[in-house]
Every structure is written in structure tokens, then in C-alpha cells.
Amino acid sequence: MPDLADPVSPSSPALFRAFLEMGLSGFGGVLPFARRTLVERRGWLSAEDFNETLALCQSLPGPNIVNMSVVVGARFEGWRGALAAFAGLVIAPFCIVVLLASLWGRLALTREAQGAMRYLAAAATGLAGATLAKMIRPILTQTPLSGVLIMGPAFAAVALLQLPLAWVMAVAAPISVGLAWIRER
């Protein structure tokens, strides 16, 4: 784990490259790759930093990972960094998906392609689950009680009761922030 004493501050080109890599590898969701790149490989963010940044980005509307590229980029290199990270993340997937769409009729209806896609989707689900487990870990080690009391109901409200995310956010966030406010004293 490279989250040690010496904090690394990436340049804009480094941000562009890192997010380009994430965008290109992010089959079935970029989040697992974002965490791996930013936390585990480059050590630009600690595990807690990553969770907190993600939380900020999830509390905003819009694609979370795109918001995250802007926030992480801005944090290290201001608006240039934000632009570099955003462009890096979006450019390759944009070109690939438009290219795929132009080839659609010929490519996607073969049995082999469909088989590959089903297995790919299953593996991507596994990756997403593993990333989730890694994100739950720091919460459970640092604030186990309030962590469970907030994560559990937030999960149940969205997954089981299927309430709109904005409502769940509006109720759960003030309670959770309030609890943390008391704890921080």
C-alpha cells in the first residue's frame, strides 16, 4: 500500500494519462479501476481520501466518475488538471463507443460476441463487488457503529424499497453528517 508519508502530486499530463488508462480499462464501470489506479498503484489518494472524494461526487448529480475526474484533477493542478483528467477519461470511450455503434449490425449479433459479453458482464459484476468490499472496509474499521447504522438503511431504502436516490440522500446525509459532527469534537 503506497499511502505513506511522501504525498505525490501529479502533473496535468500524468493526470491525463492516468484517467485515459482508467477510461480504457473500465469495462462495466470505471470505479474499480479508479480506486486501483488512484489509491493502490499511484498512491495519489489514501483509502479514506478516495471514499470522501467519491462521497462528494455522489452527492452531486451527474456521472460520479466524471465528477471525480474533475475534483481529483482540480485538487492537484487547478482547472488545467480538471480539464486534463476529464479529457483523459472521456476521449477514448467516446471514440470507441461511436465506432462500435457504426459497426453494430455486423459485429454484435454473432453468437461468439454475445457469449463474450455475458461472461464479461459477470466478471465486471465481480469486480464491482470486490471494489465495494474495499470501500466498506475503512468505514467498518474506523466508525463501525455509525457506519452500519447509516450504510444499512441507505442500502435498504434504495435497493429494497426502491426510493429515489435524491430522497435517501436528503434524509441520510444530514443525519450522518450530524453524527460525524458530534464525533469530531
Binding site: 455503434a101 459484476t125 463487488g129 474495499k134 446525509a173
Partner: protein, 177 residues
């Protein structure tokens, strides 16, 4: 000079509005996007939309790509570009402005409380999104095993996830032969 296609303005406005509703990520507005493209604007058939969605899932990258493809279907490359920028622009600006505040007050008590408090909410909602996606996925003993092995490999080895995905895709092709 070629006049600018007025439909681009419509795309820009509609996707910017959608992005501002997308609390919890781009996936949450896919039903709304479907209503917009198929029922309200008659840009495409239901089957077209589903095909575009599958395509967007098959490509690497963030999950807003479905909006890129809707734009592409309606107005070609320009449409794809406008839809993508409209889907990302407004919220990126918001994120940028908030990020500055977020950094500046890094060491204050309310900022710490905000960060520590938002984390479990976000992770709980992330778990819910994962649950809903996993339930919608194809099942079957082999596919569940593939998912399980992938998860274990990511948690307990330093294997690059791309390797896992490629292996899974190869397995999928072999399975159909």
C-alpha cells in the same frame, strides 16, 4: 456556410437537464432518457434504445455513454459530441466549484464532519446500485462462478483487472463454440 442543425440545441438542453437530475450517477436517469428518446421525442424505437444501451455497456468507460449513443443516433457525430458535453458539462462545473471549497476548508471541523458523514451514505447507496445491477444480470452457475472468482482475484491478488475481464471474455467465446 451550413446552418447548425436545430436538433443539436434540443439535444444540448435535454441532456443538460437530465444530468442535473442524475443524483447517484448516470444510471439513475436511464429510464427518464428512454422516455425522452422513445416516447416524447420519437427519436428511435424501443428496440433501438435497448440495442444502444447494450452497446454502451459493452464499451469501456463511464456509464454515461448511453447518452453519447442517443446523440449519435439522432444527429450523427455532432449529436454524440453535444450529448456527451451536455451530460457532463453542468455537473462538472458544479464539481469544480465545490472541489475548491472542499480543499480550502480541509482542516475545519465541519468539513471533516461532512466528509466522514457522506462516506457511509455514498457507500450504502453504491451497495444498492450494485445490488440492483447484479440482480438484473444473467444468472446461471457458471456466470455466478465467474463473478465470484473475479471478485476473489481482485480482493486477494494484485492481478490487473483487465486480465480478468479478457480471460472472462475468452471463456465466453469458448463456451459458445
Amino acid at each position: 456556410m451550413k446552418p447548425i442543425n436545430p436538433i443539436l440545441g434540443v439535444i444540448a438542453f435535454q441532456f443538460a437537464a437530465l444530468s442535473l437530475l442524475a443524483f447517484g450517477g448516470a444510471n439513475t436517469v436511464i429510464p427518464e432518457m428512454h422516455r425522452l428518446a422513445v416516447e416524447r421525442r420519437h427519436w428511435m424505437s424501443d428496440t433501438d434504445f435497448v440495442a444502444l444501451f447494450a452497446l454502451s455497456q459493452a464499451a469501456p468507460g463511464p456509464n454515461f455513454l448511453i447518452s453519447t449513443l442517443v446523440g449519435w443516433k439522432v444527429a450523427g457525430l455532432a449529436g454524440a459530441l453535444v450529448a456527451t458535453l451536455a451530460m457532463c458539462g453542468p455537473t462538472c462545473l458544479l464539481a469544480y466549484l465545490l472541489a475548491k471549497v472542499w480543499e480550502r476548508y480541509k482542516h475545519t471541523r465541519w468539513r471533516k464532519a461532512f466528509a466522514a458523514g457522506l462516506s457511509p451514505v455514498a457507500v450504502g447507496m453504491g451497495a444498492a446500485t450494485f445490488w440492483l445491477l447484479a440482480r438484473a444480470a444473467d444468472t446461471g452457475v457458471i456466470l455466478i462462478a465467474v463473478a465470484g472468482v473475479s471478485a476473489i482475484a481482485v480482493l486477494f491478488t494484485r492481478l490487473n483487472p483487465v486480465v480478468i475481464l479478457v480471460l472472462a471474455a475468452v471463456l465466453g467465446v469458448i463456451g459458445t463454440l
